[in-house]
Symmetry: C2
Subunit: 339 residues, 2 copies
DNA sequence: CTGTTAGCGCATTCAA
DNA sequence: TTGAATGCGCTAACAG
């Protein structure tokens, strides 16, 4: 006589002729089992195709077996890779990911920061793109283990993992400057955003190492979007005689670099002959564009894995303080720079 | 005296001075409650910040409250949008998404088809990119409600929702052909893949409506990747006198169109002056490219929403048979075509 | 209309 | 070393 639905611990125990608690102990290795019984239990599990019911287990163990991810949007491949990295790490612990997408501008960040605790999670990874530290996040860290990924937030004592933006920017900046061009310009990212400041710092180091005076290098602010790259480049290249417009452009990300390239082309300038361009991120379009964009590649997957690892350790009781991990980046040489 | 952890039904009942089942009935609207009691319960819930424990509820209700998604990879924005659409629909039913990424080639499709039933889900949405119907999927549909999204699979009786690929291709094809060019060529997608066949059929209709003879139009097969677009275009444009090479190119997707554009440029041909190009999908790079690519936009979000809706209805017991829904697409006119 | 009670499947005491 | 019994928080009879 078949019992309805999937097999339970009780079914296995009956089949093997042992007590429920013995099967449970066998599965969780929580106490020694006589080899003979172990064999019978193993066979019964196989025969009934038994799989523990995670809901019952978690209910009993008073845990969520889930970690929350607050992220702008998964349709951005970079964030999707971070999520994949997290997933990769936590799936080994039989944990699942509870997603909260706050929208491209972070509009629903407060909303989800309030909601996630109620959804019952064991910890939270925050990928923010606002550059601020909202009150809602402050309250979150009082109640849950929290780890910051990709974008740093000031003023809170939680672990962080991201890319070494400064060093990456410095390296690609020096590559661009090695062309010997002397009319450099920078398109920087949103004010107050950690990654933008770090990349700008890296570009400044590169400029300094090539003996540029700060006052000679125009710095235009964008907001990481393609359109803002168009606007920034317009102010740099349109209405200026070509002999005065920049001949080397350091952009804080690929989207803005690509937007700038459109304007540069419209201005009748050639890339890289008239203008050398570099970006940051290595988005897919960087390689498809003509000319293909020299940029800096980050390992979003590794950021996700590392963030999950830090969070799991925090959940396990370890005090990581405000540990900061900055993962290395790699420069991808393509066709917008000169060898 | 505080109880440990979050408030439970019992806490609320005690606080409001009613029975546990009354609170449950109030929350689930499962029977009428005296207004007076309702107020007391509502206040108690608010005061204790009570949130029902979903794990306990689902355990009791013998359901997973989760639907499985088998998808190639979330780092592809198109699939990510489908997932967002599903998420949007099922979150209203308090259900969560259990993700299974099979990899860009679908390598782990069998693996996850076996694993998902064990993870306990109430139903499954399959987004396949193989074009075949693996045995594992056949077995899946015997045990679970299954809905196919985006890519159709032959030989199984399950609901399907995707885009109207044929009509979209026909429309954009006719736009390209309206230029009056007479040396047309097609780059088609993977053999046996439903979307590829549908788009090819649409392009054929467009060609027929402009009185092209089938034998006059070279059709080169690609596999939807950028590189395959490069290879296909190489066979079409390189080593051929420009007066004989195609002057209008219909590609089955944007990635291949973009790859082809690189080759066309290398061949010294201008777009759209010498060659008109169209694609399909409207990926972000299509708009950033120079010239920007005329293509067909699909609503991946709507595909996800609709698939979730069909699945929820199937889970609820409705028999949808092999209902097929093909959502409309829109042509996005850009700079690789002539007005 | 409301309260009491019996499990959902599991981990974990406590006896044996 | 093993088994019986308890309850995690909840829904759904059932009795009042």
């Amino acid at each position: 006589m078949m019992s309805r639905g999937p097999a339970t611990l009780r079914d296995v125990a009956g089949h093997a002729g042992v007590a429920i608690s013995t099967v449970s102990a066998y599965i969780n290795q929580t106490r020694p089992i006589t080899p003979e019984l172990a064999v019978r239990i193993r066979d019964a599990i196989r025969e009934l195709d038994f799989v523990p019911n995670a809901q019952a287990r978690n209910l009993r163990m008073r845990r969520a077996a889930s970690i929350g991810l607050i992220v702008p949007e998964l349709s951005n491949p970079f964030f999707a890779f971070i999520a994949e990295g997290i997933e990769d790490r936590i799936s080994r612990e039989q944990m699942t990911l509870t997603l909260s997408q706050t929208g491209p501008t972070g509009a629903r960040e407060d909303f989800y920061a309030e909601l996630l605790p109620r959804a019952r999670v064991d910890g939270i990874i925050v990928v923010s793109n606002t550059g601020k530290t909202p009150m809602s996040i402050m309250r979150l860290i009082e109640r849950f283990p929290v780890v910051l990924a990709d974008e740093y937030m000031p003023g809170i004592r939680v672990p962080f993992v991201g890319s070494d933006n400064r060093r990456g920017a410095r390296t690609v900046g020096e590559l661009a400057l090695s062309s010997g061009r002397r009319r450099a310009a920078v398109i920087t990212g949103p004010e107050g955003l950690w990654s933008a400041e770090a990349r700008l710092a890296g570009y400044r180091e590169a400029l300094a190492s090539y003996s540029f005076a700060e006052s000679d290098v125009p710095i235009v602010r964008g907001d990481y979007t393609f359109d803002s790259g168009v606007r920034a480049a317009t102010s740099l290249f349109i209405g200026t005689p070509a002999t005065n417009s920049p001949d080397v452009l350091l952009a804080a990300n690929d989207l803005m670099a690509l937007g700038a390239m459109r304007v540069i082309r419209q201005a009748g300038l050639r890339i890289p002959e008239d203008v050398v361009v570099v970006g940051f991120d290595d988005i897919p379009a960087a390689d498809m564009m003509h000319p293909s964009l020299t940029t800096v590649s980050q390992s979003a997957f590794a950021i996700g894995q590392t963030a999950a690892d830090l969070l799991l350790r925090t959940i396990a009781g370890e005090d990581l303080g405000d540990e900061r991990i900055e993962l290395p980046t790699t420069v991808v040489r393509r066709s917008t720079t000169i060898d």
